[in-house]
Symmetry: C2
């Protein structure tokens, strides 16, 4: 490895504002392997940036919303006068309004692309629309794609967020297309997760409200100037009424990203949730839970490497032959490779 | 476990035509665990049913197409007069036309639902549209959903296909919504994979043609009565012209599932691909490759259990604390839990 591409050198340059160096660091994270590991060691002690997740179905206008949020966020976190989502909480004091105004000198956008052969192209097109900020030195925009398998991306996103924080970016907007478990995994890397719906969303999603509730700290009805916005709000509020009460009820904000309306209200609601989290140690608890999830993923990736090693052996080829010839079922074959012997049906 | 729910009892009843028993077997596969493993052992020796994969973006009309294909397939595999997709192949003789006509007395549909909070509802609605066949005793329709994690579904699908074959269903249509890696994983469980596109598809998918080519044995332009069908075909043919030549060039078939046009041509093209695979041992080779993939997945699932076990230990809780306090990075924490010690940056 040449000195020029070494993680510590790149971190130093990226911290000084060199965006090419930062882009290289994120490529390093995407690729994984030893340089990525060295980078993780360089950045893990730095306090993470505040991470705002934005997720929703294709076509819900997430990219335009992100575009608008960048502009609003650059004005800084507003002083929080009230926290509408916070409900009575026996475990902690109410949030302290007014104490959390803070400058946001730079904004990073990570657009996570699940790289489906069917939907992957969309986010690429969306990036092009974000041209407003393409030449703004205080904004850093980057797509991350799946390389190989989904697990890889779930591992790479929190690392990328840490890198962005370590080089001095205080706010990361994490944009994902809502396409399944992947998106839930990525949403779990955010401090505040905003779920974007559009009027009419309810028709196609009856069966999955539980999944939405699980990830949402805030709901946005985008394209709220279209017919059906009132019904969409009613559906969301009903769903929230029926869900188990906690110390936070996700506020519902209406926006029209293309018209630029509702964006200040949305960012104020995000600031409200942030104030709620900063209070009573909730943010620290949430981040610790994320680290636990990340550790499990790293462990799983390690163990997957064991599978890859097994695969190269003669034993694996023989097991595949036995499977193809109907001499073993897949579980017996796995037992044999793992040296479990007659583990019986209880093993998996 | 009561005798009534034991896998061998259920397999016997399902083989005699009891669809309730078959549905229970598939639930058993979905749930996993020891009964599923016992079931795998009962069914692995049976020759698998022919599996036709149908995949494409939401809204491409897959369910209506499946509906039409059920009717056409029930007339049996047609005698193959010519195999348009087969190209000159130095490694084997040309397919033998006319030799493969075969009855298809029953058809199974497995609709695989990636259970996204955003897209999961769609396939449920699609099922309702398949009412034509709801009371037909020769047709068995079943949705499979993600329980827990994606890997679980990737493991369950080939097992479910084996069960369907073992109880005597000769043809399985495997329908998936194209939403990422999941869909590619599921497509890899099919003998013939049909990728469904619609006029206008090219605009949103420039970046992902390689992913489509990887899985497609056949392309269908559905809704071909709409404007843009000619351009869609031209795009597909250009893409195929540019791809590496093999012994098969995916034919492009135009259909209008809602009008019922092009369905016979589509099924004839599927029969052509089947004839191609049956020739020169290609089908056996493809199925052996699938078993290899499945074995790797079983191994990975086994090793993931190790992670879960690790998680319950005191060591794991201590590692999470060390992470949260910035005393270890995630890779160091994983090393420690796996007992690797000072493995250094080369380990992951």
């Amino acid at each position: 490895m040449s000195a020029r591409t070494e993680p510590d050198n790149l971190v130093e340059r990226a911290t000084a504002g060199d965006r090419v160096a930062l882009a290289r660091l994120l490529s390093m994270v995407e690729r994984g392997g030893p340089p990525s590991r060295a980078l993780a060691h360089l950045t893990y002690r730095h306090p993470p940036p505040y991470t705002l997740g934005l997720t929703g179905a294709p076509g819900s206008g997430k990219s335009t919303l992100t575009d608008r949020l960048i502009t609003t966020a650059r004005a800084g976190w507003p002083a929080v006068a009230a926290v509408p989502g916070a409900t009575d909480d026996p475990h902690g004091p109410p949030p302290r309004p007014g104490a959390l105004a803070e400058a946001v000198d730079q904004v990073a956008v990570l657009a996570v692309d699940p790289s489906s052969p069917f939907t992957g192209g969309a986010i690429l097109g969306d990036r092009v629309r974000m041209q407003d900020h393409a030449t703004d030195p205080t904004v850093f925009i980057r797509s991350m794609a799946t390389r190989g398998h989904l697990g890889g991306l779930a591992l790479a996103v929190p690392e990328a967020v840490r890198v962005l924080g370590a080089v001095g970016l205080p706010l990361v907007i994490l944009e994902t297309v809502g396409v399944g478990q992947m998106e839930v995994d990525v949403a779990s890397a955010a401090d505040t997760t905003v779920v974007v719906v559009t009027p009419g969303w309810g028709d196609s999603m009856q069966a999955n409200k539980a999944g939405l509730l699980e990830v949402a700290d805030l709901f946005v009805i985008n394209k709220a100037d279209r017919p059906g916005a009132r019904e969409a709000r009613r559906d969301l509020e009903q769903m929230l009424d029926l869900s188990a009460p906690g110390d936070w009820r996700p506020p519902v904000v209406e926006t029209s990203a293309s018209e630029g309306t509702g964006i200040d209200e949305l960012f104020a609601a995000v600031a409200g949730h942030r104030a709620h989290l900063l209070d009573g140690g909730r943010l620290a608890a949430r981040r610790a839970a994320r680290l636990e999830l990340e550790l499990r993923r790293v462990l799983r990736a390690r163990l997957t490497q064991e599978v890859e090693r097994t695969r190269s052996g003669e034993g694996f080829a023989e097991a595949v032959r036995a499977l193809a010839e109907g001499r073993l079922d897949p579980y017996e074959a796995a037992d044999r490779l793992l040296g479990v012997g007659g583990a019986g049906p209880g093993a998996l």
